[in-house]
């Protein structure tokens, strides 16, 4: 493994990782505010990617303008999807066992994916060329240009979300509720509104992740697999830690592009090359981390006296 290989992997890893971090942020935020593990999160990524591509293609405008409108429309649709899911599906389930609620999110995921694939087919779909293709060179390191752009946007969004949670009244209310739901309600925080916002933000973060990944790699029905990676990132960081989720996203991106890519290219076992190991490297690492730190790197440890 040469230094050049590691550095290049790290750069690409940070770029992809920033998108994972954005998606994972949505996941962790929802878990933290509602305690619901949203198994439809990956499908919300898919939703964003598919919808943005379809809108960009259907608008008869200069391509950058169509793209900008498509992004705005997709995010609005994502927020609406979040609100509808909370209002129509989750609120009636309030008070049910958490397991049933989680299974419902699984069903929700299948429905979203089925609708997307039914509408737009299962083949890989691409954005029209909205960002310049080609590569950027840092010395002798080569990174795809689109990766740089997506990373910049994802980082800006991560900062934006952080500022929002830190300073805005809605953000403060959400943090208050995430820590202590009943206490927050005695301080005048409406839990229903917090839950609704949490779903909307989760859907927006996921959809934006879908758009950025779509720009880079195109979108097909398997993109929801990224939801699993976000789950992995969140578990690695500690389920209820938002900074942990962000860091987890970056770590996963780097792991798969350094370690995974190396094994992919160089390691053979029993005379067979381990092609595709890149995709599972993060999960192997998570398995190891969880053996040592069961609550993730930054999760709250629950110590119970027996």
């Amino acid at each position: 493994m040469t230094l050049h290989f590691v550095l290049e992997g790290a750069l690409v890893g940070v770029a992809v990782g920033s998108i994972y971090a954005l998606i994972a942020l949505g996941f962790a935020l929802l878990y933290k505010s509602t305690k619901i593990l949203n198994l439809a999160h990956g499908e919300m990524v898919l939703f964003g990617g598919y919808l943005a591509i379809a809108l960009t293609r259907s608008l008869d405008l200069p391509v950058w303008m169509a793209f900008a409108l498509a992004v705005a429309g997709t995010l609005a649709a994502a927020a609406a999807l979040g609100f509808v899911v909370e209002r129509g599906i989750m609120r009636p389930l309030y008070g049910q066992s958490l397991l049933s609620v989680i299974i419902v999110t699984l069903a929700l995921g299948y429905i979203i994916r089925g609708l997307m694939v039914g509408l737009w087919g299962g083949d890989t779909r691409q954005f029209p060329p909205v960002v310049p293709t080609g590569v950027v060179r840092f010395g002798d390191l080569i990174v795809p240009r689109v990766g740089i752009y997506s990373a910049a946007v994802a980082l800006a969004l991560l900062v934006g979300f952080s500022l929002f949670f830190r300073y805005s009244l809605v953000g403060i209310a959400m943090r208050a509720a995430a820590n202590e739901q009943l206490t927050a309600s005695t301080l005048g925080v409406s839990l229903k509104r917090v839950f609704a916002y949490a779903w909307a933000f989760a859907a927006i973060a996921a959809s934006f992740g879908g758009i950025l990944l779509g720009l880079w790699l195109g979108v097909n029905f398997a993109l929801d697999y990224v939801g699993l990676k976000a789950l992995a990132a969140v578990i690695l960081g500690g389920l209820d830690s938002i900074p942990g989720a962000i860091l987890g996203g970056f770590l996963i991106g780097m792991l798969e592009n350094i370690l995974g890519a190396y094994i992919d290219a160089n390691v053979t076992a029993f005379g067979v090359s381990l092609h595709g190991f890149k995709e599972i490297t993060p999960f192997v690492v998570i398995l190891l981390v969880l053996l040592i730190k069961p609550y993730g790197l930054f999760g709250t440890e629950h110590i119970e006296r027996l």
Binding site: S168, L169, T183, S185, L187, G188, S190
Partner: protein
């Protein structure tokens, strides 16, 4: 026993409230009223339903029958956050603070409902936003002075002694500028000195600020000294109501506390 018709200056009125859980009646046809500026004590053996009454008032539990009126508004079906906005604040039997945050931050969290949306947006620290923040900070500092928490201002709550945490919780409730304050065993687990301090704060809140309060407390000495009026509960029912001196000698009360000794 019908609903007592209280005086015109009633702040809170509970009318024939019944709260059932599966197989258990926690509150049974209870009526009571809190008057302006009054400190009402609710006493009774463990499991009598005292905390359930507070939970009905603050909106965590929703009774199956009866009405709850706050300042002549029917709040029986209002959610908890709406009641907080009307001015009902409380402390908890088991402290419910944000343990990772400082005393200052915890008390400031009580200002949440007085903050206007957007004031803090983007960390804008000038103009009206700054003036509003300064105003909130002044209120919080007044409370810190009042509760003698200066030395702990920047300490994380998790590091503080139990008695100090109880004071912080009271501070947070006061930061809401409550029109009714519900205190659920504010002195439980405190040392004698801390109890004396807490009693002093409660008295001052009543005398100087005139905040109506409901106090649940097991320390009979404290209850008899502080409260204007007492309601005694047993098995979810109100078994007596009146001035502390009268309650002290009420045979039903003595029986509830001491058990099945035959009352002559």
């Amino acid at each position: 026993m019908g609903p007592a018709t209280p005086l015109a200056d009633t702040v809170l009125r509970i009318e024939r409230v019944t709260l059932r859980f599966v197989g258990l009646t926690a509150i049974d046809d209870l009526s009571l009223a809190v008057r302006a500026g009054e400190l009402l004590g609710i006493i009774g053996p463990n499991g009598a339903g005292k905390t359930s009454v507070l939970n009905c008032i603050s909106g965590f539990y929703h009774p199956q029958a009866g009405r709850i009126l706050f300042r002549d508004q029917d709040i029986t079906h209002r959610p908890a956050h709406a009641r907080a906005r009307l001015g009902i604040a409380r402390t908890f039997q088991n402290i419910a603070l944000y343990p990772g945050m400082t005393v200052l931050a915890n008390i400031t969290s009580g200002r949440l409902l007085h903050m206007r949306a957007g004031v803090l947006a983007g960390g804008v620290y000038w103009g009206p936003a700054q003036r509003e923040l300064v105003r909130h900070r002044e209120r919080v500092e007044e409370i810190i002075d009042f509760l003698e928490l200066e030395g702990h201002r920047d300490h994380r709550v998790a590091e503080l002694a139990y008695g100090v945490q109880k004071k912080v919780e009271l501070g947070r409730a006061l930061a809401m500028e409550p029109r009714l304050l519900l205190l659920d065993e504010p002195m439980a687990g405190m040392t004698a000195d801390e109890k004396a301090d807490m009693a002093r704060y409660i008295l001052e809140l009543r005398e100087v600020r005139g905040i109506p309060m409901i106090l649940i407390e097991h320390d009979m000495g404290v209850v008899m000294d502080l409260c204007d009026r007492l309601v005694v509960m047993d098995y979810g029912r109100k078994i007596a109501e009146g001035l502390p001196e009268a309650i002290q000698h009420d045979p039903r009360v003595i029986q509830a506390y001491l058990g099945e000794e035959t009352v002559a």
